[in-house]
């Protein structure tokens, strides 16, 4: 946001008061973040289909747009905008109408603390990491709302599963980040990235073996957190039809999709910032920081897609087993191990 306020200050000179600058900067950043989210959905729906296609020996979309169906998401958007907005007769109408936006907003708010480049961060919070985890779990409420309000048994199943899953996987997700916080001694996202300066061997995931395991744990938990395969319990198209968004059509359905892909990118961005050195390049001086950051995050997203199109899905109780009996203990060991490592190597937070 510093970048934006500086920019406005340069454009308007003394024409804007500090408060005005803050408001203008904040609004611009919010707009940019919303656009980033929309862009995520557009790019990643296309990418997901292409990845799935090539993995499965086919092409994926090829028709709209000249090259490999690049305009397919645009065509989908146009189609989806033209769809009728159906509310089931016995649905809990206010909740039903509100749910997609709750999910969307939960995702949007978290973007505020993602440091894309030096200074290019909407809200440079001291509790940045904590804030992201806190806000992104608001999406669970949206899932529950959607599932309950649809008045559909499959939706209800999806919602119950989704809520249980999101609440459970928050814990390994957060625990996996704690070693990094211990090393950096800060929850500020900017500080965490700056602490990884100076080439790939300074990035947190290569800091010590425990952090590498923590990174893997974070990666797995993040897939579960955004409800994607092999942890796509709330949607499980072969069991629950479409889970909590079974009854949604048109634009509201699109919002669920938007939120899914935005969340996918969000957790990858967090992983990039926390473990993979954020905007720091592999070696050498900082170079095109924003681009480096986005490339890293996109690679992580592609990895998640690769996993999704390879693995079968877990069962609900196995999902919980993996979370509570495997990932949480491992994450705790990582926290302990990272602490001992720090003492042994004489680092202090």
């Amino acid at each position: 946001m510093q970048v934006m306020t500086d920019l406005f200050a340069r454009i308007f000179g003394d024409g804007l008061s500090p408060v005005g600058l803050l408001v203008a900067g904040g609004l611009t950043m919010a707009l940019i973040m919303a656009l980033v989210m929309a862009l995520c959905a557009i790019v990643f729906t296309w990418a997901e289909r292409k990845v799935a296609g090539f993995i499965q020996s086919r092409y994926g979309p090829m028709r709209v747009g000249r090259w490999h169906g690049v305009l397919q998401p645009v065509a989908d958007m146009v189609k989806i905008l033209g769809k009728e907005d159906i509310v089931p007769q016995d649905a809990d109408k206010p909740l039903f109408l509100l749910a997609p936006f709750v999910i969307f907003i939960g995702s949007l708010m978290a973007w505020a603390a993602i440091p894309f480049a030096p200074g290019f961060i909407a809200a440079d919070l001291d509790l940045g990491l904590f804030y992201i985890f806190a806000v992104s779990s608001a999406a669970t409420i949206g899932i529950l709302m959607a599932g309950w309000a649809s008045n559909n048994k499959w939706s209800l199943y999806g919602a119950a599963r989704g809520a249980a899953q999101a609440v459970s996987y928050e814990i390994p997700l957060t625990l996996a980040c704690i070693p990094v916080v211990m090393i950096t001694g800060s929850l500020n996202m900017n500080d965490i990235v700056i602490a990884q300066q100076g080439g790939i061997w300074h990035w947190h995931f290569l800091h010590d073996p425990f952090l590498f395991v923590a990174f893997l744990l974070y990666f797995v938990a993040s897939i579960a957190e955004v409800n994607r395969g092999p942890f796509d319990m709330p949607e499980t198209e072969s069991e629950l039809v479409a889970g909590y968004h079974t009854e949604y059509t048109g634009m509201r359905f699109a919002f669920f999709f938007l939120a899914e892909y935005a969340n996918l990118f969000l957790v990858s961005c967090v992983a990039t910032a926390v473990f993979l050195g954020g905007w720091q390049p592999l070696f050498g001086p900082v170079f095109l920081p924003g681009l480096v950051f986005v490339i890293k995050a996109v690679l992580l997203v592609l990895l998640q897609m690769w996993l999704r199109w390879t693995l079968p899905r877990l069962r609900v109780d196995q999902l919980m087993h993996v979370c509570w009996k495997v990932m949480v203990p491992l994450a705790l060991i990582c926290v302990l191990g990272a602490g001992i490592w720090m003492l042994a190597t004489g680092q202090t937070g």
Partner: protein, 186 residues
Amino acid sequence: MTQYLRDIYEAVTSALKGMRITGKHVVRKPVTLQFPDERWVLPARFKGFIINDVNLCDGCLRCAKVCPVDCIYIETMGKGKDRFMHRYAVDYNKCIWCGLCTEECPTFACQHSLDYDHALYDRRRLVYEFVDPARPVPCHKERRQQMGYFVEQVAAAPPDPDRIAKAPRRADLPETAPGGAEGGGA
């Protein structure tokens, strides 16, 4: 505890093995065709839409009799040399592409074409008329010769892909009269 650790190890390694296989496919060339632009070669025996070459047909009704779903409507008038066929229609709403009629046909008039892609707005247009009612087709061989129809006997020949490929396609066939389906209970 050993089992617990082995489970984790197996889960990770088997996932990686699977990812290796899927990853290999990403760089492989896809096997699918881009349908309307690329089409596969149809075999000579392909069971496409049934066509009837009225030049060859002698109106023997065998195809209509053998059809398990009664989708071939043939109407004839007269007897002997004066027998004329004024309707030969195939109702593709009913046709199940079993190929019994083509096997039964003694003159190889009734054949499967290589035609398979039709999209229509009205199911009544799926009743194909092969004979113009205003110009009935003579059934008897001699009369056909007199009237200049093609009478070359096709001696027990397998379906000729060339002839089938050149068969009249949907666009060339006469339009079905309005209400064709209703009047179609031959």
